[in-house]
C-alpha cells in the first residue's frame, strides 16, 4: 500500500455526530474512492454487514496490515477508518450510529496525540490511545471466545440425544393452558409481530383453517385420489359445505392439492400433491 495522497478528515467542531464532515484530498474534496479502498458498491454492503460494529472494523483494519494492537498508529488508522465511513456514506448505505461515535472518538484521539501538550499537564493525562487499545483488546478476546464457542460440538447441531416418545404413557397430563393464558400469549406475539410490518396475521375464518387441517389429515390417511364431493361435509348442512369448499380452495391455492378427473364428466378427484411418489 503505497500512499501518495493525503486524505484528510475534518470534523467540523461539535458536529461530528451528525456526520457533517467532508473528506479532502490535498485540500480539495475527494471525488473518487481511494484506490486501496475500492470495493464494488454491492460488495461493500455485504462487507459492511460482516462487521459487528466499529471495534470490529478497526480490528480488521489493524489486522489487515499485520499491526500490533498495542502499537496502532492512530493517525493512519483514523485516516483509513474515516475513508471507509466516507465511502459508505457516499454510497448512502445505512450506517449505525456507533460508527460515527467511533469516528468522533478517533478524531479526538488523533488531535490529542498530535498536539503538543503543555508540559504542566503531562503527568496527569493518560495517553488517549490507551482506553481505545484496551477496548480493542477486550473486544478481540471475546470475538475469539465466540468463535471457539461456535466451534464446540453443540447439541442438536453436532451432538444428538437419543430419546423415545412417551405418548403411549398414561399418567397425569401436563396441565392444559387456561384459555386466557393462550390469549395472553397470542396478544404478546401480535404485539411483537406488529413491530415488523411484513408479518401479517390475517383474520381468516378459523373454521376454514380448521377444515384445511382436517382435509389434509383425511388425504394423508387415504392414499391416492379421493372424490372431491366426499370432502364436502354435506352432513353439516350448507355452512359445512361452504366451509369445506373454501378450505379445499385454500389448500389448492397453497399448492397442496392435485386434481384429477378420470373421464369426461367423471367424478372430480383430489389428492395430496406429490404423495403418489411416496406410497407408504
Amino acid at each position: 500500500m503505497t500512499e501518495t495522497e493525503v486524505v484528510e478528515f475534518e470534523p467540523e467542531a461539535g458536529e461530528v455526530a451528525e456526520a457533517g464532515w467532508s473528506c479532502r484530498v490535498h485540500g480539495s474534496p475527494m471525488e473518487a474512492l481511494p484506490v486501496d479502498l475500492y470495493i464494488p458498491p454491492d460488495a461493500l454492503e455485504v462487507f459492511l454487514e460482516s462487521f459487528e460494529g466499529p471495534l470490529d472494523l478497526l480490528l480488521y483494519l489493524i489486522r489487515r496490515q499485520n499491526l500490533d494492537i498495542l502499537a496502532i498508529p492512530i493517525a493512519e488508522i483514523t485516516r483509513q477508518y474515516m475513508a471507509y465511513i466516507e465511502v459508505i456514506q457516499a454510497l448512502r448505505l445505512e450506517l449505525a450510529g456507533e460508527y460515527l461515535v467511533m469516528a468522533a472518538l478517533l478524531a479526538e484521539i488523533k488531535s490529542r496525540v498530535l498536539l503538543p501538550r503543555p508540559p504542566a499537564s503531562t503527568e496527569e493525562e493518560e495517553d488517549p490511545r490507551l482506553a481505545l487499545i484496551r477496548q480493542l483488546q477486550e473486544y478481540e478476546r471475546f470475538k475469539t471466545a465466540a468463535e471457539r464457542l461456535d466451534a464446540m460440538p453443540r447439541l442438536e447441531r453436532d451432538v444428538f440425544h437419543a430419546h423415545a416418545a412417551r405418548d403411549a404413557l398414561l399418567g397425569p397430563p401436563a396441565p392444559a393452558p387456561a384459555l386466557e393464558d393462550l390469549m395472553d400469549a397470542l396478544v404478546a406475539v401480535l404485539r411483537r409481530a406488529g413491530l415488523h410490518a411484513h408479518h401479517q396475521i390475517s383474520a381468516e375464518a378459523l373454521s376454514v383453517r380448521e377444515r384445511m387441517a382436517r382435509i389434509l389429515g383425511t388425504l394423508e390417511e387415504r392414499e391416492g385420489f379421493v372424490d372431491f364431493v366426499n370432502l364436502l361435509a354435506v352432513d353439516e348442512g350448507r355452512p359445512g359445505v361452504v366451509v369445506a369448499f373454501l378450505a379445499v380452495l385454500e389448500l389448492s391455492k397453497a399448492g397442496l392439492l392435485e386434481w384429477g378427473q378420470g373421464e369426461p364428466f367423471g367424478p372430480i378427484q383430489v389428492r395430496r400433491r406429490a404423495q403418489a411418489a411416496a406410497p407408504e
Binding site: 430419546h163 403411549a168 401436563a174 393452558p177 397470542l186 384445511m212
Partner: protein, 222 residues
Amino acid sequence: MTEMETTTPATVPSGTEEPGIELVLEAVLFAASEPVPVKDLVAACAVADAAAGRAEVEAALERLSDHYRDRSIELVRSAGGYRFRVRQAFSGHVQAAQPERPQRLSRALLETLAIIAYRQPVTRAEIEEIRGVAVSTQIMRTLTERGWVHVVGHKEVPGRPGLYATTRVFLDDLGLGRLDELPPLDALRELVDLPGEEGGAAPVPETGSANGDAADEPESGR
C-alpha cells in the same frame, strides 16, 4: 467435552467401520423428535457408503423392530413415519422418575401453541417468522407428545416441512367444541392496538442505553 464421560470403554463401537443401515436408522430414529418419514430415512442412508433403497430400509426397520422386541421401547409406525416409543408398561416408572410433575407451560410454548391454533396448518418456519425467534425442537416435541398438535401434511416447498395443526385433544382440554369458538383475532387485535401499557416497545432498536431493556421480561429459564 472433557467432563462428559462415556460409561462404556472409549473404544469405537465395533459396528462403526461399516455401520450397516440398521444402526444408521437406529441413530436417526432416536435423534428425531417427530416420526421420521421413510424418505428421510433413505436420505440418512445415502451418506457415506450406507446407501440403500426403500426396500432395504424397510427390511432394516423390520430387523430393528425385532431387536427391541424385549426392551422397554418399541418401534412404531404412524402416518408421518417411524419412531421409537416407550412401552406403556413402563409408564408408572417413567412418572416416578419425574420429581416435580406439574410444570407450568412456558411462555414460548404458549405462544407457539397459539400461533398453531390460529394459523393452522402452519410450518415451523412460519411460526418462527411470526414469533421472531427460533422455536426449539423441545417445544414442538412437548406439544406433540401432549397430543395438542400434530403434523397433518407437508408443505410443497424445498425440504417439505411438516404442517402443524391442533388436535381434538387440544379443543377438549380447552373446553372448546370447535376451533372457531376461540376468540376472534379481530378482538385480540384491538387489545394489541391499545396504546400504552408496553410503552418501551418502540420499533426502533434502542441505542445501547443502560436500562432500555425493560421490555425483556426474564423468562424463567428452564
